[in-house]
């Protein structure tokens, strides 16, 4: 056990699974870097340096750089998974699923079903998401609700280094296609991360704080925003239950609903655009299961339904901040 960044934790999970299972390989644009170039190999280790160093241990056969052909190489990964390998494909930014969405929507998510259970596509697709880095409208989206909507894939969304390693290990060993969402801010987060491998079960939410006043459900990076809000609220004597679902599919509805029943109040914090978002989904779960327990309307904390603006002034206003969560919780309490 030692303190590691999530970047290191993810790299460890990849390395450990590659050591453990020769079928595992990683593939993506500049995932090592320097391919065909005259200078240093492993030049970048991915745009965020997550996969840096794996080339040295595993070589070009298992650390596969690609051209800028997302449909081509995601489809390649899908085919390789069908053939019995365990690809971990990186789509650099979740926004780029636009150019290869068909491979998710109509292919990896549907093969098992439409081929009557005779096909399996055990692929893991890692991607980065989220705003806050001045990357503007085409490189900052959250988009995970779109993937949660599609039957036939699992969706994981870690909020910290420990979960990132455990969930990614589970994803790679899983028999199903898994979309793995890494917020850009995750990489530099530090936490206690065991050196050895471990898995975290999908579909089990983490209850990070327990308090009676309000239940706050937050997703991915928003868990950390909500935790800051929880601290501010605690100083004011308001104690929240904070839940991190960790996977969207499967979703741990039991834990969520139980917490809402206990608190009678719910705030959902979600970096995705608000319409048909995970915040809507969680709110709807309460409406369809136990609206009578609510002592106040649910409050959704999402960005406004606008593209992500570039200017830091606007981007800051766009993103949910701890203060927004504080305000939302107080609203449920009528304060």
């Amino acid at each position: 056990m030692s303190i590691k960044t999530a970047r290191e934790a993810i790299r460890e999970a990849l390395a450990a699974e590659m050591r453990r299972d020769p079928r595992v390989f990683i593939m993506g644009e500049d995932i090592a870097g320097g391919m065909g170039a005259p200078g240093e190999q492993d030049a970048w280790g991915g745009v965020f340096g997550v996969t840096k160093g794996l080339l040295g241990e595993f070589g070009r056969q298992r650390v596969v750089d690609t051209p800028i052909s997302e449909t081509g190489f995601l489809g390649l990964g899908i085919g390789a998974a069908n053939a019995g390998l365990r690809p971990v494909v990186e789509i650099m930014f979740v926004d780029f699923f636009g150019v290869c969405f068909d491979q998710v929507l109509n292919n990896m998510s549907k093969f098992r079903y439409m081929y009557g259970g005779k096909a399996a596509t055990p692929i893991t697709v890692r991607t980065t998401y989220g705003a806050g880095y001045g990357a503007a409208a085409q490189h900052s989206q959250a988009l995970y609700p779109i993937f949660a909507h599609i039957p036939g894939i699992k969706v994981a969304l870690p909020s910290n280094a420990y979960d990132a390693k455990g969930l990614l290990t589970t994803a790679i060993r899983d028999e199903d296609p898994v979309l793995f969402f890494e917020h850009k801010s995750l990489y530099d987060l530090q936490g206690e991360v065991p050196d050895e491998s471990y898995t975290l079960p999908f579909g089990e939410a983490a209850v990070l704080r327990e308090g009676k006043d309000c239940c706050v459900v937050a997703f991915g990076h928003m868990v950390n925003i909500a935790a800051k809000a929880a601290d501010q609220l605690a100083e004011q004597g308001i104690h929240i239950t904070l839940i991190d679902p960790r996977t969207l599919v499967p979703l741990d509805t039991d834990t969520l609903l139980e917490a809402v029943e206990n608190c009678g109040r719910l705030v959902v914090v979600d970096e995705a655009s608000p319409v048909c978002s995970m915040a809507s989904e969680i709110a709807s779960l309460v409406a369809t299961n136990c609206p009578q327990v609510l002592k106040a309307p649910v409050v959704k904390v999402n960005p406004p339904p606008v593209p992500v603006p570039f200017s830091p002034a606007l981007e800051q206003a766009y993103l949910p901040q701890p203060e927004d969560v504080v305000k939302a919780v107080k609203k449920t309490l009528g304060r």
Binding site: T66, F73, I78, A80, N82, L85, N107, Y115, K118, D176
Partner: protein, 326 residues
């Protein structure tokens, strides 16, 4: 016309082409009766392509197909009864009735399935080729696509990937002249073999009415790919004897076009005449094969028409790996 190659299994080739033709022609009749759900796209006329190619393939080789896949399924060794059951949406179909004509597959035979999104399956063949190379196996992956599919971005990305990674992938463009109602001659700028050449991939023109031409050229391609020499491209011109889908009035075709094709561009008739002329088969033996295939197709279709639908529980199985109540 060159001599019949010695290695060609004349009876096997003829039998498989005939089986494909019988199945499609009899399906055409069954569909007209109105008992088949959904959209079906028949392969009749194109048999020399699937058969001349698949004669070279092993069960461990991979084939990725399109919406027009019955012929690929049978030629790759899929079971005709499971095929018919699937097309009727019945229990025991090769996809348990969940896929239908546009998704027929036999994964145990390396037939990875009909895929009804144009161009979508091409990169999967590249993935299969990647897996062969990764494991040091000498398998090959074959990607089938139509002239229409040749304008979808996925195929170009796939050719580039297969070439730079030097993968054993054989790209087959089955050019039947139409994508739905739209002529290939209008929709496809340039030339398919030149497009492949743009990626440095060697390409060949193939006469898809001549199974010997297909068999010979594709044989060389398989050898090339198995030897680790990378991808190849095949532009196979084929006639199509039914409409785009069953029910299509085919008014975009010239009057008499199909009749002329059936008379002059029928791979079965041409092959039959040639093997008889070369003394490589006897008319009686071929007639026996005709009857055998007609019987097999009729039996499969009749059985499928009468079979029960899949159980309702199967609606919610096979979504994810552990069969789950969703």
């Amino acid at each position: 016309m060159s001599a019949l190659p010695d290695g060609l299994d004349v009876h096997g080739t003829y039998r498989m082409m005939r089986l494909l033709r019988e199945f499609e022609d009899q399906m055409h009749v069954a569909i007209a009766r109105g008992t088949v759900p959904g959209f079906t796209h028949l392969y009749a006329g194109e048999e020399a392509s699937a058969v001349g190619i698949c004669m070279h393939l092993r069960d461990t080789d991979v084939l990725c197909s399109t919406h027009r896949a019955h012929g690929h399924f049978l030629a790759k060794g899929g079971d005709i009864k499971a095929l018919a059951l699937e097309i009727f949406g019945k229990q025991g179909g090769c996809c348990g009735g969940k896929g239908g004509s546009m998704h027929v597959a036999d994964w145990s035979r390396g037939m990875w399935g009909a895929n009804a999104i144009i161009g979508a399956s091409v990169p999967h063949a590249v993935g299969a080729g990647f897996a062969f190379q990764y494991r040091g196996e000498d398998g090959v992956a074959v990607s089938f696509g139509g002239d229409g599919a040749s304008n979808q971005g996925a195929g170009f990305e796939s050719m580039n990937l297969a070439k730079i990674l030097n993968l054993p992938v054989l790209f087959v463009l089955e050019d039947n002249g139409y994508a739905e109602t739209t002529a290939a001659s209008w929709a496809c700028a340039g030339n398919p073999v030149a497009r492949a050449a743009g990626f440095g991939i060697p390409g060949v023109e193939v006469d898809g009415t001549d199974v010997v031409d297909v068999w010979t050229k594709f044989g060389a391609g398989v050898a090339h790919a198995r030897a680790g020499k990378g991808p190849m491209f095949f532009h196979v011109r084929v006639p199509i004897f039914h409409g785009h889908y069953e029910g299509d009035p085919e008014t975009y075709r010239a009057p008499g076009e199909v009749k002329a094709l059936r008379e002059n561009a029928d791979c079965l008739g041409k092959f039959r005449a040639r093997v008889l002329a070369a003394g490589r088969a006897e008319a009686g033996a071929l007639e026996a094969i005709d009857a055998e295939c007609a019987g097999a197709a009729a039996a499969a279709i009749a059985k499928a028409a009468d079979a029960p639908f899949p159980p309702l529980e199967s609606l919610k199985t096979h979504v994810l790996s552990r069969s789950q109540e969703v």
